[in-house]
Symmetry: C2
Subunit: 192 residues, 2 copies
Protein backbone atom coordinates (compact mmCIF):
# COMPACT_ATOMS: atom_id res chain seq x y z
CA UNK A 1 0.00 0.00 0.00
CA UNK A 2 2.60 2.51 1.13
CA UNK A 3 4.91 1.33 -1.63
CA UNK A 4 2.37 1.87 -4.38
CA UNK A 5 1.42 5.17 -2.86
CA UNK A 6 4.98 6.52 -2.91
CA UNK A 7 5.54 5.41 -6.48
CA UNK A 8 2.26 6.93 -7.54
CA UNK A 9 3.06 10.09 -5.67
CA UNK A 10 6.38 10.42 -7.48
CA UNK A 11 4.73 10.01 -10.86
CA UNK A 12 1.86 12.34 -10.00
CA UNK A 13 4.07 15.13 -8.68
CA UNK A 14 6.59 14.67 -11.49
CA UNK A 15 3.75 14.90 -14.01
CA UNK A 16 2.67 18.21 -12.55
CA UNK A 17 6.17 19.65 -12.22
CA UNK A 18 7.17 18.54 -15.71
CA UNK A 19 4.11 20.35 -17.00
CA UNK A 20 4.54 23.53 -15.02
CA UNK A 21 8.33 23.79 -15.16
CA UNK A 22 9.43 21.58 -18.02
CA UNK A 23 11.18 18.20 -17.95
CA UNK A 24 14.77 19.42 -18.15
CA UNK A 25 14.33 22.21 -15.61
CA UNK A 26 12.66 19.96 -13.03
CA UNK A 27 15.18 18.20 -10.78
CA UNK A 28 14.96 15.20 -8.50
CA UNK A 29 15.34 17.64 -5.63
CA UNK A 30 12.27 19.58 -6.76
CA UNK A 31 10.12 16.48 -6.91
CA UNK A 32 11.44 15.15 -3.60
CA UNK A 33 10.82 18.47 -1.86
CA UNK A 34 7.25 18.59 -3.16
CA UNK A 35 6.47 15.10 -1.90
CA UNK A 36 8.48 15.29 1.28
CA UNK A 37 10.74 12.29 0.74
CA UNK A 38 14.51 12.05 0.53
CA UNK A 39 16.26 12.41 -2.81
CA UNK A 40 17.86 8.99 -2.53
CA UNK A 41 14.50 7.27 -2.31
CA UNK A 42 13.90 7.74 -6.02
CA UNK A 43 16.42 5.12 -6.87
CA UNK A 44 14.31 2.46 -5.21
CA UNK A 45 11.53 3.06 -7.73
CA UNK A 46 13.26 4.58 -10.75
CA UNK A 47 16.83 4.03 -11.88
CA UNK A 48 17.00 7.16 -14.03
CA UNK A 49 15.14 10.38 -14.68
CA UNK A 50 14.12 8.99 -18.05
CA UNK A 51 12.29 6.17 -16.28
CA UNK A 52 10.24 8.75 -14.39
CA UNK A 53 9.44 10.49 -17.65
CA UNK A 54 8.42 7.14 -19.08
CA UNK A 55 6.03 6.59 -16.17
CA UNK A 56 4.69 10.14 -16.53
CA UNK A 57 3.96 9.56 -20.21
CA UNK A 58 2.25 6.27 -19.31
CA UNK A 59 0.11 8.10 -16.80
CA UNK A 60 -0.84 10.75 -19.32
CA UNK A 61 -1.67 8.14 -21.96
CA UNK A 62 -3.88 6.32 -19.49
CA UNK A 63 -5.64 9.42 -18.21
CA UNK A 64 -6.16 10.71 -21.72
CA UNK A 65 -7.69 7.40 -22.75
CA UNK A 66 -9.95 7.47 -19.72
CA UNK A 67 -11.07 11.02 -20.51
CA UNK A 68 -11.85 10.15 -24.13
CA UNK A 69 -13.74 7.02 -23.06
CA UNK A 70 -15.67 9.14 -20.59
CA UNK A 71 -16.76 11.55 -23.29
CA UNK A 72 -17.94 8.65 -25.44
CA UNK A 73 -20.10 7.25 -22.67
CA UNK A 74 -21.40 10.63 -21.50
CA UNK A 75 -22.19 12.23 -24.85
CA UNK A 76 -24.31 10.17 -27.23
CA UNK A 77 -23.77 12.47 -30.22
CA UNK A 78 -20.38 12.69 -31.99
CA UNK A 79 -20.83 16.44 -32.32
CA UNK A 80 -21.14 16.87 -28.55
CA UNK A 81 -18.09 14.69 -28.03
CA UNK A 82 -15.99 16.81 -30.37
CA UNK A 83 -17.31 19.95 -28.69
CA UNK A 84 -16.21 18.50 -25.36
CA UNK A 85 -12.71 18.21 -26.76
CA UNK A 86 -12.71 21.76 -28.13
CA UNK A 87 -13.96 23.16 -24.85
CA UNK A 88 -10.99 21.67 -23.04
CA UNK A 89 -9.37 24.93 -24.08
CA UNK A 90 -11.86 26.86 -21.98
CA UNK A 91 -11.95 24.44 -19.07
CA UNK A 92 -8.15 24.53 -18.81
CA UNK A 93 -7.66 28.13 -19.85
CA UNK A 94 -5.84 29.19 -16.68
CA UNK A 95 -3.06 26.54 -16.78
CA UNK A 96 -2.89 26.83 -20.58
CA UNK A 97 -2.25 30.58 -20.40
CA UNK A 98 0.37 29.95 -17.73
CA UNK A 99 2.13 26.82 -19.02
CA UNK A 100 0.73 25.94 -22.44
CA UNK A 101 -0.80 22.66 -23.54
CA UNK A 102 0.72 19.75 -21.58
CA UNK A 103 0.98 17.58 -24.68
CA UNK A 104 2.28 20.12 -27.14
CA UNK A 105 4.88 21.60 -24.83
CA UNK A 106 6.20 18.20 -23.76
CA UNK A 107 6.49 17.06 -27.39
CA UNK A 108 8.28 20.28 -28.31
CA UNK A 109 10.74 19.97 -25.43
CA UNK A 110 11.50 16.30 -26.08
CA UNK A 111 11.99 17.10 -29.78
CA UNK A 112 14.67 19.65 -28.90
CA UNK A 113 16.31 17.28 -26.44
CA UNK A 114 16.19 14.56 -29.11
CA UNK A 115 14.90 12.39 -26.31
CA UNK A 116 14.29 8.65 -26.61
CA UNK A 117 10.72 9.08 -25.36
CA UNK A 118 9.94 11.70 -27.98
CA UNK A 119 7.69 9.41 -30.02
CA UNK A 120 5.96 7.99 -26.96
CA UNK A 121 4.99 11.52 -25.96
CA UNK A 122 3.70 12.19 -29.47
CA UNK A 123 1.51 9.11 -29.06
CA UNK A 124 -0.65 11.18 -26.68
CA UNK A 125 -1.46 13.32 -29.71
CA UNK A 126 -2.05 10.02 -31.50
CA UNK A 127 -4.78 9.12 -29.03
CA UNK A 128 -6.57 12.42 -29.59
CA UNK A 129 -6.14 12.16 -33.36
CA UNK A 130 -7.59 8.65 -33.63
CA UNK A 131 -10.44 9.48 -31.26
CA UNK A 132 -11.38 12.60 -33.21
CA UNK A 133 -11.12 10.65 -36.44
CA UNK A 134 -13.52 8.09 -35.01
CA UNK A 135 -16.03 10.81 -34.12
CA UNK A 136 -15.87 12.34 -37.60
CA UNK A 137 -16.37 8.91 -39.07
CA UNK A 138 -19.43 8.48 -36.87
CA UNK A 139 -20.69 11.72 -38.39
CA UNK A 140 -20.34 10.12 -41.80
CA UNK A 141 -17.13 11.83 -42.89
CA UNK A 142 -15.31 8.71 -44.02
CA UNK A 143 -13.14 10.36 -46.65
CA UNK A 144 -12.05 13.37 -44.66
CA UNK A 145 -12.22 12.06 -41.08
CA UNK A 146 -8.46 11.84 -40.64
CA UNK A 147 -7.79 15.27 -42.15
CA UNK A 148 -10.50 16.92 -40.10
CA UNK A 149 -9.25 15.25 -36.93
CA UNK A 150 -5.72 16.53 -37.44
CA UNK A 151 -7.12 19.93 -38.36
CA UNK A 152 -9.07 20.28 -35.12
CA UNK A 153 -6.10 19.04 -33.16
CA UNK A 154 -3.75 21.51 -34.84
CA UNK A 155 -6.21 24.34 -34.41
CA UNK A 156 -6.51 23.71 -30.69
CA UNK A 157 -2.72 23.55 -30.42
CA UNK A 158 -2.37 26.88 -32.14
CA UNK A 159 -4.91 28.47 -29.83
CA UNK A 160 -3.05 27.11 -26.81
CA UNK A 161 0.26 28.39 -28.15
CA UNK A 162 -0.92 31.95 -28.70
CA UNK A 163 -2.94 31.94 -25.49
CA UNK A 164 0.28 31.19 -23.59
CA UNK A 165 2.18 33.95 -25.34
CA UNK A 166 -0.49 36.65 -25.04
CA UNK A 167 -2.41 35.43 -21.96
CA UNK A 168 -5.55 36.41 -23.79
CA UNK A 169 -8.66 34.67 -22.52
CA UNK A 170 -11.03 36.47 -24.90
CA UNK A 171 -8.97 35.11 -27.79
CA UNK A 172 -9.45 31.56 -26.52
CA UNK A 173 -13.21 31.98 -26.28
CA UNK A 174 -13.40 33.53 -29.73
CA UNK A 175 -11.41 30.73 -31.35
CA UNK A 176 -13.36 28.04 -29.52
CA UNK A 177 -16.54 29.57 -30.95
CA UNK A 178 -14.90 29.60 -34.39
CA UNK A 179 -13.91 25.94 -34.19
CA UNK A 180 -17.44 25.05 -33.14
CA UNK A 181 -18.84 26.98 -36.12
CA UNK A 182 -16.38 25.23 -38.39
CA UNK A 183 -17.52 21.89 -36.99
CA UNK A 184 -21.20 22.70 -37.55
CA UNK A 185 -20.44 23.82 -41.09
CA UNK A 186 -18.80 20.47 -41.72
CA UNK A 187 -21.79 18.64 -40.26
CA UNK A 188 -24.17 20.61 -42.45
CA UNK A 189 -22.08 19.87 -45.53
CA UNK A 190 -22.29 16.15 -44.75
CA UNK A 191 -26.07 16.13 -44.73
CA UNK A 192 -26.33 17.73 -48.14
Amino acid sequence: MAAVSTREQIVEIADDLFYRGGFEATSFADIAADIGISRGNFYYYFKTKDEILDAVIDRRLQRTSAMLDGWESQAPEPRERIVAFIELLIANRAPIMAYGCPVGTLCAELAKLDHVHRERAAEIFGLFARWLEKQFRALGADETAREWALHVLAWSQGVASLATAFKDEAFIRREVADITCWLDDRIVSLSQ
Copy 2:
Protein backbone atom coordinates in the same frame (compact mmCIF):
# COMPACT_ATOMS: atom_id res chain seq x y z
CA MET B 1 35.94 44.86 -35.52
CA ALA B 2 37.05 41.64 -33.87
CA ALA B 3 35.04 42.64 -30.81
CA VAL B 4 31.82 43.06 -32.72
CA SER B 5 32.50 39.85 -34.57
CA THR B 6 32.90 37.80 -31.38
CA ARG B 7 29.84 39.32 -29.78
CA GLU B 8 27.81 38.73 -32.90
CA GLN B 9 29.11 35.19 -33.11
CA ILE B 10 28.02 34.48 -29.55
CA VAL B 11 24.52 35.78 -30.22
CA GLU B 12 24.26 34.00 -33.56
CA ILE B 13 25.38 30.63 -32.25
CA ALA B 14 23.34 31.01 -29.07
CA ASP B 15 20.28 31.81 -31.18
CA ASP B 16 20.75 28.61 -33.15
CA LEU B 17 21.49 26.43 -30.12
CA PHE B 18 18.60 27.88 -28.11
CA TYR B 19 16.35 26.99 -31.03
CA ARG B 20 17.66 23.49 -31.63
CA GLY B 21 18.26 22.47 -28.03
CA GLY B 22 16.23 24.85 -25.89
CA PHE B 23 17.39 27.72 -23.68
CA GLU B 24 17.69 25.83 -20.42
CA ALA B 25 19.43 22.80 -21.93
CA THR B 26 22.02 24.91 -23.78
CA SER B 27 25.07 25.70 -21.64
CA PHE B 28 27.84 28.25 -21.92
CA ALA B 29 30.16 25.34 -22.65
CA ASP B 30 28.00 24.30 -25.63
CA ILE B 31 28.08 27.77 -27.14
CA ALA B 32 31.80 28.21 -26.47
CA ALA B 33 32.62 24.86 -28.02
CA ASP B 34 30.59 25.70 -31.13
CA ILE B 35 32.38 29.02 -31.62
CA GLY B 36 35.79 27.88 -30.50
CA ILE B 37 36.38 30.41 -27.74
CA SER B 38 37.06 29.92 -24.04
CA ARG B 39 34.16 29.80 -21.60
CA GLY B 40 35.49 32.70 -19.58
CA ASN B 41 35.37 34.99 -22.57
CA PHE B 42 31.59 35.24 -22.32
CA TYR B 43 31.84 37.40 -19.25
CA TYR B 44 33.53 40.12 -21.24
CA TYR B 45 30.41 40.54 -23.37
CA PHE B 46 27.57 39.19 -21.23
CA LYS B 47 27.38 39.14 -17.46
CA THR B 48 24.69 36.48 -17.27
CA LYS B 49 22.99 33.86 -19.41
CA ASP B 50 19.85 35.99 -19.32
CA GLU B 51 21.75 38.79 -21.03
CA ILE B 52 22.60 36.43 -23.89
CA LEU B 53 18.94 35.46 -24.14
CA ASP B 54 18.07 39.13 -24.19
CA ALA B 55 20.46 39.69 -27.10
CA VAL B 56 19.08 36.62 -28.89
CA ILE B 57 15.54 37.95 -28.57
CA ASP B 58 16.74 41.32 -29.87
CA ARG B 59 18.30 39.59 -32.84
CA ARG B 60 15.12 37.66 -33.56
CA LEU B 61 13.00 40.80 -33.28
CA GLN B 62 15.27 42.60 -35.68
CA ARG B 63 15.47 39.77 -38.20
CA THR B 64 11.72 39.24 -38.04
CA SER B 65 11.13 42.92 -38.70
CA ALA B 66 13.53 42.82 -41.62
CA MET B 67 11.79 39.77 -43.08
CA LEU B 68 8.36 41.38 -42.78
CA ASP B 69 9.65 44.61 -44.32
CA GLY B 70 11.15 42.57 -47.13
CA TRP B 71 7.82 40.94 -47.91
CA GLU B 72 6.14 44.32 -48.02
CA SER B 73 8.64 45.68 -50.52
CA GLN B 74 8.76 42.51 -52.62
CA ALA B 75 5.05 41.69 -52.82
CA PRO B 76 2.76 44.53 -53.90
CA GLU B 77 -0.46 42.71 -53.03
CA PRO B 78 -1.48 42.06 -49.39
CA ARG B 79 -2.68 38.60 -50.37
CA GLU B 80 0.75 37.62 -51.67
CA ARG B 81 2.35 38.98 -48.52
CA ILE B 82 0.11 36.89 -46.30
CA VAL B 83 0.76 33.87 -48.50
CA ALA B 84 4.48 34.47 -48.04
CA PHE B 85 3.94 34.24 -44.28
CA ILE B 86 1.88 31.07 -44.57
CA GLU B 87 4.45 29.42 -46.80
CA LEU B 88 7.11 29.92 -44.16
CA LEU B 89 5.78 26.62 -42.89
CA ILE B 90 6.84 24.95 -46.12
CA ALA B 91 10.10 26.82 -46.52
CA ASN B 92 11.15 25.87 -42.98
CA ARG B 93 9.48 22.47 -42.86
CA ALA B 94 12.67 20.54 -42.08
CA PRO B 95 13.71 22.51 -38.96
CA ILE B 96 10.07 22.83 -37.91
CA MET B 97 9.57 19.06 -37.96
CA ALA B 98 12.81 18.66 -36.01
CA TYR B 99 12.62 21.52 -33.50
CA GLY B 100 9.23 23.23 -33.84
CA CYS B 101 8.57 26.91 -34.48
CA PRO B 102 11.38 29.06 -33.04
CA VAL B 103 8.94 31.62 -31.65
CA GLY B 104 6.32 29.29 -30.24
CA THR B 105 8.77 26.94 -28.56
CA LEU B 106 10.77 29.76 -27.00
CA CYS B 107 7.62 31.39 -25.63
CA ALA B 108 6.44 28.07 -24.25
CA GLU B 109 9.77 27.37 -22.55
CA LEU B 110 10.07 30.85 -21.05
CA ALA B 111 6.49 30.60 -19.79
CA LYS B 112 7.35 27.42 -17.89
CA LEU B 113 10.54 28.94 -16.54
CA ASP B 114 8.55 32.02 -15.54
CA HIS B 115 11.42 33.93 -17.11
CA VAL B 116 11.80 37.69 -16.98
CA HIS B 117 12.15 37.83 -20.76
CA ARG B 118 8.91 35.91 -21.31
CA GLU B 119 7.00 38.94 -22.55
CA ARG B 120 9.85 40.16 -24.72
CA ALA B 121 9.86 36.80 -26.48
CA ALA B 122 6.09 37.02 -26.95
CA GLU B 123 6.68 40.36 -28.64
CA ILE B 124 8.06 38.43 -31.63
CA PHE B 125 4.54 37.06 -32.01
CA GLY B 126 3.40 40.65 -31.58
CA LEU B 127 5.39 41.70 -34.64
CA PHE B 128 3.77 39.00 -36.76
CA ALA B 129 0.32 39.78 -35.37
CA ARG B 130 0.49 43.51 -36.12
CA TRP B 131 1.99 42.91 -39.55
CA LEU B 132 -0.73 40.43 -40.50
CA GLU B 133 -3.36 42.81 -39.12
CA LYS B 134 -1.94 45.54 -41.32
CA GLN B 135 -2.21 43.31 -44.40
CA PHE B 136 -5.82 42.39 -43.66
CA ARG B 137 -6.58 46.05 -43.17
CA ALA B 138 -5.03 46.73 -46.58
CA LEU B 139 -7.43 44.13 -47.95
CA GLY B 140 -10.28 46.17 -46.51
CA ALA B 141 -11.02 44.03 -43.47
CA ASP B 142 -11.06 46.83 -40.92
CA GLU B 143 -13.46 45.23 -38.48
CA THR B 144 -11.96 41.76 -38.43
CA ALA B 145 -8.32 42.46 -39.26
CA ARG B 146 -7.06 41.80 -35.73
CA GLU B 147 -9.07 38.61 -35.30
CA TRP B 148 -8.03 37.25 -38.67
CA ALA B 149 -4.41 38.06 -37.99
CA LEU B 150 -4.42 36.16 -34.71
CA HIS B 151 -6.33 33.35 -36.38
CA VAL B 152 -3.71 32.88 -39.11
CA LEU B 153 -0.95 33.11 -36.53
CA ALA B 154 -2.59 30.52 -34.30
CA TRP B 155 -3.29 28.24 -37.22
CA SER B 156 0.33 28.30 -38.32
CA GLN B 157 1.42 27.59 -34.76
CA GLY B 158 -0.86 24.60 -34.57
CA VAL B 159 0.47 23.23 -37.81
CA ALA B 160 4.04 23.64 -36.56
CA SER B 161 3.18 21.93 -33.28
CA LEU B 162 1.64 18.84 -34.89
CA ALA B 163 4.30 18.75 -37.59
CA THR B 164 6.93 18.47 -34.87
CA ALA B 165 5.08 15.69 -33.08
CA PHE B 166 4.24 13.62 -36.16
CA LYS B 167 7.03 14.68 -38.54
CA ASP B 168 4.40 14.71 -41.28
CA GLU B 169 5.34 16.84 -44.25
CA ALA B 170 2.19 16.03 -46.21
CA PHE B 171 0.15 17.35 -43.30
CA ILE B 172 2.02 20.67 -43.47
CA ARG B 173 1.37 21.03 -47.20
CA ARG B 174 -2.30 20.16 -46.78
CA GLU B 175 -2.83 22.69 -44.01
CA VAL B 176 -0.93 25.40 -45.89
CA ALA B 177 -3.27 24.83 -48.82
CA ASP B 178 -6.22 25.03 -46.40
CA ILE B 179 -5.04 28.30 -44.90
CA THR B 180 -4.59 29.73 -48.39
CA CYS B 181 -8.13 28.68 -49.30
CA TRP B 182 -9.42 30.22 -46.10
CA LEU B 183 -7.61 33.43 -46.98
CA ASP B 184 -9.08 33.54 -50.48
CA ASP B 185 -12.55 32.89 -49.07
CA ARG B 186 -12.11 35.89 -46.79
CA ILE B 187 -10.95 38.03 -49.70
CA VAL B 188 -13.95 36.99 -51.77
CA SER B 189 -16.28 37.79 -48.89
CA LEU B 190 -14.79 41.27 -48.65
CA SER B 191 -15.54 42.08 -52.28
CA GLN B 192 -19.19 41.17 -51.91
